[in-house]
């Protein structure tokens, strides 16, 4: 039960941070990606500000045997990069630039995004449903 409550608190703080940072506005995201247009630096401060507490958190995690509410800390990620990491990130970036929403703000936008946000979220979930067969096909192509 504690883990569930902590999850809700973490999600809530994430959502509050998205609202406060102005990541509700898709033109801010596109403005940051638009280095040839009217460049908007806000997102760099959001990303930089978010990395700071996590730099500390990883240092604490490295010195602890286990998380406070049980379980284990995530193992070191697989150092191999792989074609799926690159291809997936390129596809994600293309969609992110196109609309200005990434998954966190897309979910949170249920509370502020109107119809556009909901349509985006439904399409995103549909893409997630379609992803495993696409991954299998990409893997076959890569192995061939």
């Amino acid at each position: 039960m504690q883990r569930v409550l902590l999850s809700a608190a973490s999600g809530g703080l994430f959502g509050a941070g998205l609202l406060v940072s102005g990541m509700t506005d898709t033109t801010k995201v596109q403005g940051w990606l638009d280095v040839f247009g009217a460049w908007d630096p806000t997102l760099a401060f959001v990303l930089g500000g978010a990395i700071l507490p996590m730099l500390v958190a990883w240092q604490i995690a490295n010195r602890r045997a286990a998380p406070a509410l049980g379980g284990t800390f995530p193992s070191r990620p697989d150092p191999r990069l792989g074609h799926n990491l690159v291809l997936g990130s390129v596809l994600f970036g293309a969609g992110w630039g196109l609309v200005g929403l990434c998954p966190g703000p897309a979910i949170a936008s249920i509370s502020w995004g109107g119809t556009g946000g909901i349509v985006f979220l439904i399409a995103m979930v549909a893409g997630m449903v379609a992803a495993p067969p696409i991954r299998a096909r990409v893997d076959r192509l890569a192995a061939a």
Binding site: R3, L5, L6, A9, S10, G11, G12, F14, A16, G17, V20, S21, G22, T24, D25, L33, T42, L43, F45, L47, G48, G49, A50, L52, M54, R64, G71, F73, P74, D78, P79, L85, V86, L87, G88, S89, V90, L91, F92, G93, A94, G95, W96, L98, V99, L101, A106, I107, A108, I110, S111, G114, G116, V119, F120, V125, G127, M128, V129, A131
Partner: protein, 145 residues
């Protein structure tokens, strides 16, 4: 709220809140706070064993901003394009891409870079480059957005 302070200060404050949320999730639950992975594990059923934690996280992500909205004197403007074909194409690309790459801005960007993970850094470089190219192509060359 941007009429009091410039946008970047609110960006920094909001960013610190997002990073603190990820730090709580890591230090208490031992989990990476990646939005695409949390919802994606429910969609493809790979994360059903801890569905309650995932569901609670997603509920908090939606409910807390909704409760905060009345504090804002002006309506939050999303400026999402009214072109539904663009919205749907973008959503599909984000859904497929984040599942292939196993992460998005929060997982690879916030949690990966802070751990000096090569995968997180490489993913972030590629989605930023693709995002920049996407805006150049669809805004400046094609004029769709």
């Amino acid at each position: 709220m941007s009429f009091i302070q410039p946008d970047w200060i609110w960006g920094l404050v909001g960013g610190l809140m997002i990073g603190s949320a990820a730090a709580l999730f890591l230090l208490f639950n031992g989990r990476i706070m990646g939005a695409s992975g949390i919802i994606g594990g429910l969609v493809d059923r790979s994360g059903l064993h801890d569905w309650a934690e995932r569901g609670a996280f997603l509920a908090g992500l939606v409910v807390v901003p909704a409760l905060m909205l009345p504090l804002y004197s002006v309506e939050v403007s999303t400026n999402i394009t009214s072109n539904l074909a663009v919205v749907i194409a973008g959503g599909l690309l984000v859904g497929i891409g984040t599942r292939l790459a196993n992460g998005c801005t929060s997982g690879h960007g916030v949690c990966g870079i802070s751990r000096f993970s090569l995968r997180g850094i490489v993913a972030t470089v590629f989605y930023l480059l693709a995002g920049g190219l996407s805006v150049v192509l669809f805004r400046h060359l094609l004029g769709v957005i």
